[in-house]
Symmetry: C2
Subunit: 319 residues, 2 copies
């Protein structure tokens, strides 16, 4: 896997607009040790590898990062360690949406205070069936309390896991009152109709499908890029496809087909342990297989099938 | 509302078996101030009132307590303040189940260290579709790390909100390895068939339906009691029914009918703000209406309808 040419970075790269986000972002996997604590060394090595091999940025502490399986202190500690290691604040988007609004304020304020102004916010996700007005009040409380004019919030729509959809009505309310702060959304619904609706209804809003399988169609309609779990292992393949699609290159369709085949193969396994298994496999580093409960590592025999399936679909082995 | 006679406390009261739980437990509502912080004074007054007017115990930091809307520090702080005010540790069951296993360990260890050995544990509730083996590993990690032989865990089954059911298979696994620690379950599914199955399959397991509407049928089959949100306002009514049903008193059926009518009336409104509205109304204390986002207080006009509905159904005004 070679690093894509520097010219492939679009003009709207983080370097050009430090508060914006475009392109391929990966919710970086977070390795844990045998005692379940975050393995900071491996986490930083992996994060750097993703940035060096094609990711425009990292959505640290998303679903694939097992964010909600770590305490606030663990999450803040890893962010501090990543920045201290030299990972640029502009290339991070930190997950800060918690069930407790005070926790969301604390994580958001912590990130912004460290110069990480882009955050990916789940709605409060324990209570279901909450009104848009109540969800608005939750996001507004975070924005008002953090009170940072440079804060940029990307809403995180993942109804299958959160059980709390981000509706068009809620987005309208937030854009009306916080147009500079609420700037985009990660759509992990897997529903093209929802992605399309967002792109149609909210021009200029930075919409990221949560899967590269929708990338082609989404880019055509003006999506900002994609934030996708599988970028943890298919970094170069997805980045090359992204670049080819944006450049309307002749090989875009073929690249897109392979990329989507790899995704489809991966989806036959539970995604978080599957990605960790693949990282462990290609790095020859068994420790990477560990996950936090309630997840379990992929059994070895399943892992072997997984490797065969994704390579059969066209995944280039990681280096 | 008068305090029930002391003789109504069953022989298996907390006083007799400090690590057990039986009877009527209330997931106490937690008042918040205008700045959304916990209103400790009002919280303690309300908790004492519930214990003085009929609750055998309090399930502090359950769903009705807006537990997941508060930070760990806020939850631990209120528990410490309640104990310092003289509320007996034996009459508390603390919600300690979080998404992050380290958080569940921290809350459980904190409670047990203060002498509050009974905890009500949600499964980790962000990830959906987790295996029983993965959920087992999560609960087992808490039990192994807290390592308190007096710890008593009541599992919290609330699939509509958690999205993560506690299955019979998971209970079997836990009972096999931790028979002294995992002792019961609050079933908030509202599904009588599930309550019945638990009572049939796990004799001796302390099953509490999450609603008094199932109390009569559940007690007949050996349930431990009920843990119910509406005990925040219909304390005396539910306790009197519980006592009458247990004593097979002649007026049990009539009491049960009124109690269930009050519950049914209440269920037409969102339960957490509705209960706070009623407490505010009967105490003449407007501050009680406040809730944490993503909930919103009941609008005044809805509140007036609610009061009329529950009184029409037979709720005795609180004193």
């Amino acid at each position: 896997m070679s690093r894509p040419p520097a010219t492939a970075v679009p003009a709207t790269s983080p370097e050009a607009e430090p508060l914006a986000a475009h392109g391929l972002w990966s919710p970086a996997s977070v390795p844990v040790r045998a005692d379940l604590a975050i393995d900071t060394g491996r986490a930083i090595t992996h994060a750097r590898h993703l940035l060096d091999t094609g990711c425009h940025g990292l959505a640290v502490f998303g679903t694939t990062s097992e964010a909600n399986s770590f305490s606030l202190e663990e999450r803040m500690g890893l962010l501090e360690d990543m920045l201290a290691s030299g990972i640029p604040a502009d290339r991070l988007m930190v997950g800060t949406g918690c069930c407790a609004v005070t926790d969301s304020v604390r994580l958001t304020d912590h990130a912004a205070g460290l110069g990480v102004k882009k955050v990916l916010m789940l709605p409060p996700f324990y209570y279901k069936g909450m009104s848009d007005a109540g969800l608005y009040r939750s996001f507004a409380t975070v924005i008002e309390r953090v009170a940072d004019p440079d804060l940029r919030i990307f809403l995180y729509h993942f109804p299958r896991l959160s059980g709390v959809p981000i509706t068009a009505g809620l987005i309208e309310m937030l854009l009306r009152d916080f147009p500079r702060t609420v700037v985009g959304l990660k759509d992990s619904s897997g529903d093209w109709e929802n992605v399309r609706m967002l792109l149609d209804e909210f021009p200029g809003f930075a919409v990221f499908p949560g899967s590269e399988s929708l990338l082609g169609r989404a880019l055509e309609k003006g999506a900002a890029g994609c934030i996708t779990a599988t970028a943890n292992v298919n970094t170069a393949g997805i980045r090359a496809t992204y670049d080819a699609l944006r450049a309307q290159a002749a090989d875009g369709a073929a690249k897109d087909e392979t990329m989507r085949a790899v995704r489809k193969a991966l989806e036959a396994w539970p995604l978080v342990p599957a990605l960790k298994h693949l990282i462990a496999h290609y790095r020859g580093d068994h420790a990477w297989r560990a996950v936090r409960p309630p997840m379990l590592p992929l059994p070895e025999e399943e892992g072997a099938k997984l490797v065969a399936a994704v390579e059969g679909a066209g995944l280039q082995p990681l280096v």
